[in-house]
């Protein structure tokens, strides 16, 4: 019946996994539990597996339930965005940046726009800076809601409730953003030197309503899972990222801060108006799944604080540089520049080389998930397969950013 299906040749990643098994058997490290021999199996987890949150494929070597080895395979969502930059003007490229890391696309735009501004020496209007911080922090909350929601849904039936509550509240943020930018996720909102539209009438009040409503919601989420025995047992002490891992592999964002590393580009490489704002860099100590979850929850509170301050301090003036028209065609002088920005997942930055023409001659993304994913073989090996799912959920990957 299935004769017309060809068995595909194993690809390089599977071959590598099989080769590693052979090598470990040759070294005499074969699996032997209580004198019983078990054969190791190579399983493809993904690229269409719901717990990988995208098209991530993990080639997992299993010994029973124990994960022996992991080889991540990426590139299923590769859209050659770095190549696309070669034939688009700086201005035309803004909407494409949105589509890299689509859960916090406004933060990606921010990194790109800041790099071009630095390269071309464009000053941003003060009102626009505040609007940027407001939108950036709102999207940080929205992104953390997706991260925590889907991660708890991976863990237990309890999370299925959580994910719906979180998506419900994220909807409020998306509504605010839609009113402001006209789009729910792919905003195309930042311009060189400012933002595309000023805040519409009544937007500030509606944003304040959200700020008033949301702290109560965070308490609700915490009441749902923080004292749940199953949640705690599955998350505490599992999937520990050590400080040495952070230093070796360039882990950034909440994943690094959960290990007790105080690294936040809003503080350590201050950009925009962050130096004027009062906020804390949230850190935890253990670096396990639970601490990463806690960091995200507390960061949402800090983001609320930041948005509130910005609404209070919001200056009058133009939200766009000069006249109503944005600088559509800009030609930065030859040179190169890298600017990193604190994305919800870590350091997101763009490196741009200009040859003096209207097109960037080279554009490169530094994506936090790409760097965090590199730790997976080390992080998942030695855990049970069910824990591996929990750990990969807690790292919070967005494949659009990894594959570019």
């Amino acid at each position: 019946m299935y004769d017309h299906f060809e068995t595909p040749e194993p690809d390089e990643a599977v071959k590598l996994a099989l080769r590693r098994i052979e090598e470990s058997t040759a070294r005499g490290e074969g699996s032997d539990v209580d004198g019983l021999e078990f054969n190791e199996v190579v399983v493809n987890m993904g690229p269409q597996h719901p717990s990988t949150h995208g098209v991530l494929r993990l080639v997992v070597t299993l010994d029973g339930e124990l994960v022996k080895d992991v080889i991540p395979v990426i590139g299923y969502l590769h859209r050659c965005k770095e190549k696309l930059a070669e034939r688009r003007t700086y201005f035309q490229y803004i909407p494409i940046v949105d589509r890299t890391e689509y859960l916090a696309s406004i933060n990606c735009e921010w990194a790109y726009v800041m790099t071009v501004e630095k390269l071309a020496g464009i000053q941003v209007t003060r009102r626009a800076e505040f609007i940027r911080v407001i939108t950036g922090e709102l999207m940080r909350i929205a992104s953390h809601l997706v991260a925590v929601g889907t991660f708890t849904a991976d863990l237990s039936p309890l999370g299925t409730a959580m994910v719906f509550y979180m998506f419900r509240d994220r909807e409020v943020i998306l509504d605010l953003m839609e009113e402001l930018t006209g789009a729910r996720m792919m905003f195309n909102y930042y311009r060189f030197g400012g933002v595309r539209y000023d805040l519409p009438d009544g937007w500030v009040e509606r944003c304040r309503d959200f700020l008033k409503m949301f702290p109560r919601k965070i308490k609700e989420y915490e009441a749902l899972v923080d004292d749940n025995a199953v949640f705690l047992q599955r998350t505490q002490g599992t999937g520990v990222i050590t400080q040495q891992d952070v230093v070796d592999y360039g882990i950034t964002g909440p994943n690094a801060r959960a290990s007790g590393i105080d690294l936040d580009l809003r503080r350590h490489r201050p950009y925009s108006v962050y130096p004027e704002l009062d906020f804390e860099v949230i850190t935890a100590q253990h670096g396990d799944i639970f601490d990463r979850y806690r960091c995200r929850m507390d960061e949402m509170r800090e983001s609320l604080k930041i948005v509130e301050q910005c609404l209070d301090m919001l200056p009058k003036g133009p939200a766009q540089l000069g006249s109503l028209r944005a600088p559509y065609v800009i030609t930065p002088p030859p040179g190169s520049c890298y600017v990193g920005q604190e994305n919800p997942r870590g350091e997101y930055g763009t490196y741009i080389e200009s040859d003096g023409s209207r097109y960037p001659s080279r554009l490169k993304y530094r994506d936090p998930c790409f760097c965090n994913l590199q730790l997976f073989p080390k992080l998942l090996s030695g855990n049970k397969i069910a824990d591996a799912v929990a750990i990969s959920g807690s790292i919070d990957l967005v494949l659009g950013g990894i594959d570019r």
């Binding site: 230093v247 360039g250 190169s336 890298y338 930055g349 080279r362 530094r366 760097c371």
Partner: protein, 155 residues
């Protein structure tokens, strides 16, 4: 230590090895490095007791038409500054020594630079393509790359 002091210190300790040292405001030092010296310079930059560039941030492969370039961006926790190393790689022989032994994070970044620009990192433990399929032909971020249907047989 402020950025000027770090630049002076690097100029003194790596005299002749780091070339064209300049400061990119506010916190990055940009320097060139000969590709033969890269492995040694990287190891010493990491081990330096005062600056200590310990975390590799990213590596970019760049095609400058006449030559390639590998750009290394490294973070120093001690001083909260970055260094950007530019290593020229000739087109005829696009090879550079791997730095995975110094910075473990280099593994995937070097694979990406190989995949996209075709710079070969000698000594890399597992230099496979990373974003493109295994059987892809060519390196798309080269300026002379021409996209043909034959280049991606499985699409």
């Amino acid at each position: 230590m402020d950025i000027d002091a770090i630049a002076a210190l690097l100029l003194e300790r790596f005299a002749g090895e780091l070339t064209d040292v300049r400061i990119q405001e506010p916190d990055t030092i940009v320097a060139g490095c000969a590709r033969e010296r890269l492995e040694d310079v990287a190891a010493r930059l990491k081990a330096d007791s005062e600056v200590g560039y310990e975390t590799l941030n990213w590596i970019a492969g760049v095609d400058h038409r006449t030559s390639f370039e590998a750009v290394y961006h490294v973070y120093s926790w001690k001083t909260n500054t970055w260094i950007e190393l530019h290593v020229k790689v000739p087109k005829a022989d696009p090879e550079v020594a791997t730095v995975t032994g110094v910075w473990p994070a280099a593994d995937w970044h070097e694979r990406e630079a190989w995949d996209m620009v075709g710079i070969r990192f000698t000594g890399h433990p597992d230099l496979r393509r990373i974003l493109l399929k295994d059987d892809f032909v060519g390196h798309p971020l080269r300026k002379d790359y021409v996209d043909l249907a034959e280049n991606h047989p499985h699409v």
